[in-house]
């Protein structure tokens, strides 16, 4: 596609429910990232996928968060038993892969999650 797409655009859920957020990267981009933007923490990294390599999950805030990337393309971020502090904008980015990390990352429009 023309850019990174994410769905849903907005999600309101009740505390304790599970949510799934989807990211469709730019065609041909093998690197995919999830970030989170919240009022108190700014923009922070969550998880990184590159090709068929094991994902780097070092930014996930708790074991309630998980993500997968099927077929090297679409990714799903799952938050189990949501808490109010999970309320944030979840941003997905993709890039071509370059050894050393020197490639432009392109961001999707984000999913705004509100946990009541």
């Amino acid at each position: 596609g023309a850019g990174v797409s994410q769905s849903p655009s907005n999600k309101v859920t009740e505390k304790g429910k599970d949510v799934e957020l989807r990211c469709d990267p730019i065609s041909g981009h093998t690197a995919l990232y999830w970030y989170r933007q919240s009022l108190g923490q700014g923009l922070e990294f969550l998880i990184y996928f590159q090709g068929n390599s094991a994902p780097d999950k070092s930014g996930l805030p708790s074991d309630r968060f998980s993500a997968e990337r099927t077929g090297g393309s679409v990714s799903t971020l799952t938050i189990q038993r949501t808490q109010q502090e999970d309320s944030a904008v979840y941003l997905c980015a993709s890039s071509l892969f370059a050894p050393g990390g020197g490639e432009t990352q392109y961001f999707g429009p984000g999913t705004r999650l509100l946990v009541l």
Partner: protein, 112 residues
């Protein structure tokens, strides 16, 4: 990890004015990007500029890698330039994780 500081935190301009936004970082980088986050939350790529100077219309950017800072220049500002400007970097010794580390941003308001 690498630290990124942006200044000023807030900036209010009249339409037509020029401005300079600064990004300081604490380590060498091989990826530096400037973004504009519009009022709808979309992060728009402005520049990929780990070193050197680039220009795109009324916007230009300069990164002096040896002194660990980057500048974003906005000339003849317009109300549509309003929003938050983020600088994000990645050091070359970040291992296999190519994540970007973001500054806290500069909130720009351009008044008509």
């Amino acid at each position: 990890g690498i630290q990124v500081e942006q200044s000023p935190p807030d900036l209010i301009l009249q339409e037509g004015a020029n401005s300079t936004l600064r990004c300081n970082f604490s380590d060498s980088v091989n990826n530096l990007q400037w973004f504009h986050q519009n009022p709808w939350g979309q992060l728009i790529n402005l520049f990929y500029i780990p070193s050197g100077t680039k220009q795109n219309g009324r916007l230009s950017a300069t990164t002096v890698a040896t002194e660990r800072y980057s500048l974003l220049y906005i000339s003849s500002s317009q109300t549509t330039d309003s929003g938050v400007y983020f600088c994000a970097v990645r050091p070359p010794r970040g291992g296999s994780n190519y994540k970007l580390t973001f500054g806290k941003g500069t909130l720009l308001t351009v008044n008509p």
